[in-house]
């Protein structure tokens, strides 16, 4: 069953009225925040590896030139 974005209730006259946001979405927004943390952490590790590879290559090129 798809997750609802909004919640509805019945008013005093039995009409279906909007109550507000569906609080089941809390977990999605919590997960989205944690996802940013994980993705950025992976990016930082990758960036460190690239920078260290680049500096190793520069060092070996300089050694060959020297």
């Amino acid at each position: 069953m798809p997750m609802e974005l909004l919640e509805y209730k019945s008013n005093a006259w039995g009409q279906r009225v909007l109550e507000g946001v569906s609080w089941d979405l809390v977990w999605i927004f919590l997960a989205a925040g944690l996802m940013v943390v994980v993705v950025h952490s992976i990016y930082v590790v990758w960036r460190k590896a690239v920078i260290s590879r680049q500096s190793r290559n520069e060092f070996s090129t300089e050694s060959m030139d020297g």
Binding site: L18, G20, V26, G33, V37, W46, I51
Partner: protein, 212 residues
């Protein structure tokens, strides 16, 4: 650290605004969300009081922004946006090159600030409208001030602002405590960054050192 090696980033009023906002957000989220998870207490009074304090703080911040010409630091220029976007695309395609040094704030920080502005103004605007339905020392409740369907949409928008703020707070705290970004957090406590952090991480032409 001696004065010569300090560069002012956040003055006392800016820091007070930030931490007031942080406390208000904590109280607003706790009082707004704990009842959703079944922890029931008299949440409404601390919720609207924290909301009003946040609104006053935001109004003072807006006035300060326009008085002190701080807006130029937060404005996202087309050139810097394209530069940052190209960097993100390069990273996504697996190529890394050092990004250009930003001025006082990076594009990511500016985008975050813009998002926070939209979220806070939405929550504040809808919150004020919803407060017409409750008694406070300032006014008596008027349950017919807005119609039932409008009230539902106000609750929905207020709720979405709450949900987005959960994600934003996680992201904000994560970047505040990352080792290479921690000097931002220190500056939000002390007011200054070290000259080394200033020169290593920022374009000193775009972020001119403020003199007292």
């Amino acid at each position: 650290m001696d004065e010569a090696n300090r560069v002012m980033r956040h003055r006392l009023t800016g820091r007070l605004f930030h931490w007031t906002t942080a406390i208000c957000f904590f109280v607003l989220l706790a009082t707004g969300l704990l009842p959703v998870f079944g922890i029931n207490f008299n949440w409404l009074t601390p919720h609207w009081i924290a909301g009003l304090v946040l609104i006053v703080a935001v109004l003072i911040h807006i006035i300060r922004t326009f008085q002190g010409h701080h807006l130029r630091y937060m404005w996202i220029g087309l050139k810097e946006f394209i530069t940052s976007f190209s960097h993100v695309l390069a990273v996504l395609s697996g190529k890394y090159s050092s990004p250009a040094k930003p001025g006082k704030y990076s594009v990511a920080q500016k985008v975050f600030h813009f998002g926070a502005t939209v979220v806070v103004l939405t929550a504040a605007g809808t919150g004020i409208m919803l407060m017409t339905g409750i008694d406070t020392p300032f006014w008596e409740r008027d349950p017919y001030f807005v119609s039932e369907s409008v009230r539902g949409w106000l609750f929905a928008l207020h709720g979405f602002a709450t949900l987005i703020s959960i994600t934003m707070i996680i992201v904000h705290i994560y970047f505040a405590i990352r080792p290479e970004k921690r000097y931002f957090l220190r500056s939000m406590i002390n007011g200054w960054v070290s000259r080394r952090d200033y020169e290593d991480n920022h374009n000193t032409d775009l972020w001119k050192e403020e003199k007292d």
